[in-house]
Each structure stands twice: as C-alpha cells, then as structure tokens.
Symmetry: C2
Subunit: 132 residues, 2 copies
C-alpha cells in the first residue's frame, strides 16, 4: 500500500458497496480486493462505523454493510470520519517565544484552516453513489 492509504481504502470499499448495497462483505474479502490485510481493513472501517457510515456484524455470515443510503454518504463524511487530515497541520509549538514565529504561525494557521474548510465543502458535493 501507499500513502493516503486509509482514505483510499475507505473510499474504494464504499464505492463498491454503493454499487451493491445489500451485499454483506467480510474484512477478508475486502482486504484481498484492496491488496491489504483484514486487520487493517477493520481498523479503517471501524472508524467509519463510529461515524455511522457502516455497520458490522460478528459471527457466522457477518461482515460489513452500509449504514445509510449511498447517496447520503458524502466524501466529506468519510474524510471527517478518519481523523487523518489531508491538510498538514501546522505543528503546535510549545511556546513561540519569538514574535516573528508568532506572527507566522497565526498567519499560516488561519490560511490552512480556511483551506481545510474549503476542502470539506467541496468534498461534501460528491456522494459515494457518484463514484460508483
């Protein structure tokens, strides 16, 4: 796998689920299709379950399923469910004792926050049904 793998894995899986919402899928099947490991799949999809995007069932004939309709799940929902940020967080300094550092930090931080909001807004315009 590569960088940004969590979001890629999540979206890829959701895309397939959107195409056949009634099918239940196991971590093993998903992992094989995505070329990764069942435990990794559970880690990532577990985040999506916390955000009420997916449900999982244990036991025989268990697995993963969408918790909502595909057209009610936006890319922003998925992005936010994984805490992972595509925007580099400006490392929180302990104490920017230097005034120039303070000015820079506040400037860059405000720009990045604006960009992040803008990103989420754009992601909200697409649902996983659109990429099916």
């Amino acid at each position: 796998m590569k960088r940004n793998s969590r979001l890629s894995l999540a979206l890829h899986t959701l895309g397939h689920m959107a195409g056949d919402p009634d099918e239940i899928r196991t971590s093993a099947d998903i992992a094989e299709h995505a070329g990764t490991n069942p435990v990794v799949v559970r880690r990532v999809l577990g985040k999506l379950r916390e955000a009420d995007i997916l449900t999982s069932e244990k036991g025989h004939a268990g697995g993963w399923r969408l918790a909502r309709q595909p057209d009610e799940i936006t890319l922003a929902d998925v992005y936010l469910a994984l805490d992972e940020s595509l925007i580099a967080t400006t490392a929180d300094e302990e104490k920017p004792n230097c005034s120039i550092e303070q000015a820079l930090h506040s400037k860059v931080t405000s720009v990045m926050e604006e960009i992040e909001r803008s990103l989420i807004e754009r992601l909200r315009a697409t649902t996983i049904a659109d990429v099916r």
Copy 2:
C-alpha cells in the same frame, strides 16, 4: 523540531532577514536561533537559493542574505521553493485496474489540485515583509 519543520524554519528565518535585509547570517547562527542544526539549515535554505530567494557566500565572512526585496518574496514563493506539499499528494497508483478506483482517483485528485491552487493563491497575498 516538529512537523512542517522545513517550511517553519524557512519562513522564520526569512522573517528575521526581512527585518534587517543587509545583515549576513551564518548557518550556525540561524541554526542556534531556530534550535536546530547548521546542516539542516543549509539543506532548507539551499532550496530557497535554487528559487532565487536567498544567496549564499562561502568562505570568511560568508553566509546567507536575501536575493530580493522582502516585499517581493511571497509565502507562495517559499512554499513552492520547498517541494514539500502541505496538501497530501494522492499516492500515484501503479495501475488502478479497478474502475471504481479510477473514478475515485480522478475525483479526489481534481479536488486536491483545486485546493492546492487555492492555497497558493492565498499564500501569494502575503510577503515576508508582512510578518516581519
């Protein structure tokens, strides 16, 4: 040091230089002020030299100096000089043989490119003289 250290180091240093453009600074001095190592400073500032933001002189009484006026150096110039991206690059897949992955990749890539352009545009509005 922490995350995003290269951009922080670059901007911090340039901010100080903007306050006193005629002073020549050694890597050792800069490193001490920034709490890091002279070699690291040279690595980062070397990138800025390639972008004609700084000049360096070897030998006795050598060091680093701005190559342009402070108000002619934007945050975008610095950001672009360091190749480092604040926007996570969507890992270049070898061959997305899966059609859903293709659709996702192109969608996410186009959003991210738009966001990156937007970021650069905003960074271009501030010069290092503004944070002095």
